[in-house]
């Protein structure tokens, strides 16, 4: 998508800045990105906020070389499905890593980074990306 409106972005800052998701008290399922209804228990579910550790591993990945609007300056960049240790999977960019070194099962942790910016004078959108946990995987200077 293109740029997000201020309220649309602001509604999710807890999730985007702190990785706060939801857990269903009834069935224990953890949701991230957050949801307002448990997919299993529906009306009977009871969701509470839960902050995730940000630790997980790469489930699958790709290198984006034909970027959408807003990401032209970042390309090529690595995008991954990260399986979080609490269970949910999330789509995010991998940073500080050589694309050639990324592999399925690689351990990663979340970091707070700039995701996009709305031109020279507009909003800067922050959020999470992931970086390798193991020193050997981190891209050198």
């Amino acid at each position: 998508m293109g740029m997000m409106s201020v309220p649309r972005f602001w509604r999710n800052t807890k999730a985007r800045y702190l990785m706060v998701g939801r857990r269903c008290r009834r069935c224990g399922q953890v949701y991230f990105p957050p949801r307002n209804l448990c997919r299993r228990c529906r009306r009977r579910g009871e969701l509470e906020e839960v902050r995730l550790s940000g630790r997980g591993e790469v489930y699958s990945f790709t290198v984006i070389r034909t970027p959408p609007v807003g990401f032209e300056r970042s390309a090529p960049y690595v995008m991954a499905l990260v399986k979080l240790e609490e269970g949910p999977m999330v789509t995010a960019q991998l940073a500080d890593v050589e694309p050639e070194r990324v592999r399925i099962g690689m351990r990663v942790r979340s970091v707070f980074r700039k995701i996009q910016e709305d031109g020279e004078a507009g909003l800067i959108y922050y959020g999470f990306k992931f970086v390798p946990v193991d020193e050997d995987d981190v891209q050198g200077e």
């Binding site: 984006i64 970027p67 949910p88 960019q93 995701i115």
Partner: protein, 384 residues
């Protein structure tokens, strides 16, 4: 379910049609379908139109009204149907339900998309709205990227090779040589696919369907009325539709498309058919891995064996189950809202024996259309 007859089909040329407008596209395909059916516009009771994103591609919403107007079909009811790249297949299903309900007797179903008026970046961005805008696209994900991650998992879990993916594109380009409506009439080799630029690793340019303008149209009526119009109706005998999570990351697995499986199961059950009965199939190969995922979830090959089946020629014309005889989305082109309707057109031509140089011997065919990365799937079974 009761059978619904397809009594007319029409297509435009698919491609980069700089000199043709959105409404011209639809009128051309619609006129062809109505001529083919041998009916008059005044016989038409209702219109359904599949269109993904007139709003973003050409700054035009209220597509159904626009088309009814430009096709001279006012005041009949006209309804737009949207489910990203599955919009066309869903429009067909709405037409089928309109006939089966008895609400309407002769229904025109079209699909149309005008994609080439935008830059590649804007088009990429528009297609990405079929994913979860806030949690996939906003993070920098693209459509080729989502399918690339599915491909990588499929290769990891089943040993599918890069060459096998390429063979899907090679086969579909070969088939398109015999389809005058196809966007590409160029034979390609595995080596050329593997040497084409990377779009989203491991997918390369020649793994991806192109950006296409085009329209497709079918005319439907009840089995009872079909013989008034034609001696060679093709029947839609089964229809299935299913949803899944919009985001790829919310699914239990990404190397198998549950929505395709569920839509297929419903369509087979309604038709009283099994996967082994299908003799020709048009499936959603927006990316080469898409065809492999489709034929597996539809039961046309074993799960995990889609790559090998392609390599061994099982899905080629002349093989056990020819897939994408039209050239598929890959080589025929993929005007997103039109694709699901165009698939039905191809299977109808095959079952009527009017498919020219790509003709196969078939009495039972299948169409399979996907929205997003598998959030929506729709399957139809057709028989002559």
């Amino acid at each position: 379910m009761k059978r619904v007859a397809v009594i007319g089909v029409g297509l435009t040329k698919f491609g980069e049609l700089w000199d043709v407008s959105f409404s011209q596209l639809f009128v051309e395909a619609g006129t062809a379908a109505i001529n083919d059916a041998g009916i008059d516009g005044s016989d038409v009771d209702a219109l359904y139109v599949g269109n993904m994103s007139g709003g973003r591609f050409i700054d035009q919403e209220h597509i159904s009204c626009l088309i009814a107007d430009y096709a001279g079909l006012t005041p009949i009811p006209a309804t737009r149907v949207e489910a990203a790249c599955a919009s066309g297949g869903l429009a067909v299903r709405q037409g089928v339900m309109a006939i089966l309900s008895g609400m309407h007797e002769v229904v025109v179903v079209g699909g149309v998309e005008k994609m080439t008026d935008l830059s590649t970046e804007r088009t990429t961005q528009t297609l990405a709205t079929a994913s979860d805008s806030e949690w996939e696209a906003f993070m920098g994900m693209t459509f080729p990227g989502l399918y690339a991650m599915m491909a990588r998992r499929h290769m990891h879990e089943y040993g599918t090779t890069r060459e096998q993916l390429a063979m899907v594109a090679v086969k579909n380009h070969e088939n398109a040589l015999h389809n005058p409506y196809a966007q590409f009439h160029s034979r390609i080799t595995v080596e050329q696919v593997l040497a084409s630029p990377l779009v989203a690793d491991p997918l390369r340019l020649l793994d991806c369907s192109p950006i296409t303008d085009g329209a497709a149209c079918v005319v439907l009526t009840s089995e009872e009325r079909a013989r008034e119009f034609t001696d060679s109706p093709v029947y839609i005998t089964g229809s299935g539709q299913a949803s899944s999570t919009i985001a790829l990351h919310s699914r239990e697995r990404v190397s198998f498309v549950d929505a395709t499986y569920n839509a297929g199961r419903e369509a087979y059950a309604r038709a009283g058919r099994e996967p082994g009965d299908v003799q020709v199939a048009e499936v959603h190969d927006a990316f080469t891995i898409g065809e492999i995922l489709a034929i597996e979830a539809l039961g046309l090959v074993e799960v995990g064996a889609g790559g090998r089946a392609t390599e061994e020629g099982e899905t080629s014309i002349g093989g056990r189950i020819p897939v994408n005889t039209s050239g598929g989305l890959k080589a025929k082109g993929h005007p997103v809202g039109a694709t699901g309707v165009a698939q039905v057109v191809e299977v109808v031509l095959q079952l009527r024996g009017e498919a020219g140089g790509r003709q196969v011997d078939a009495e039972v065919g299948l169409t399979h259309n996907v929205g997003g990365s598998g959030g929506t799937a729709v399957v139809h079974i057709l028989e002559r």
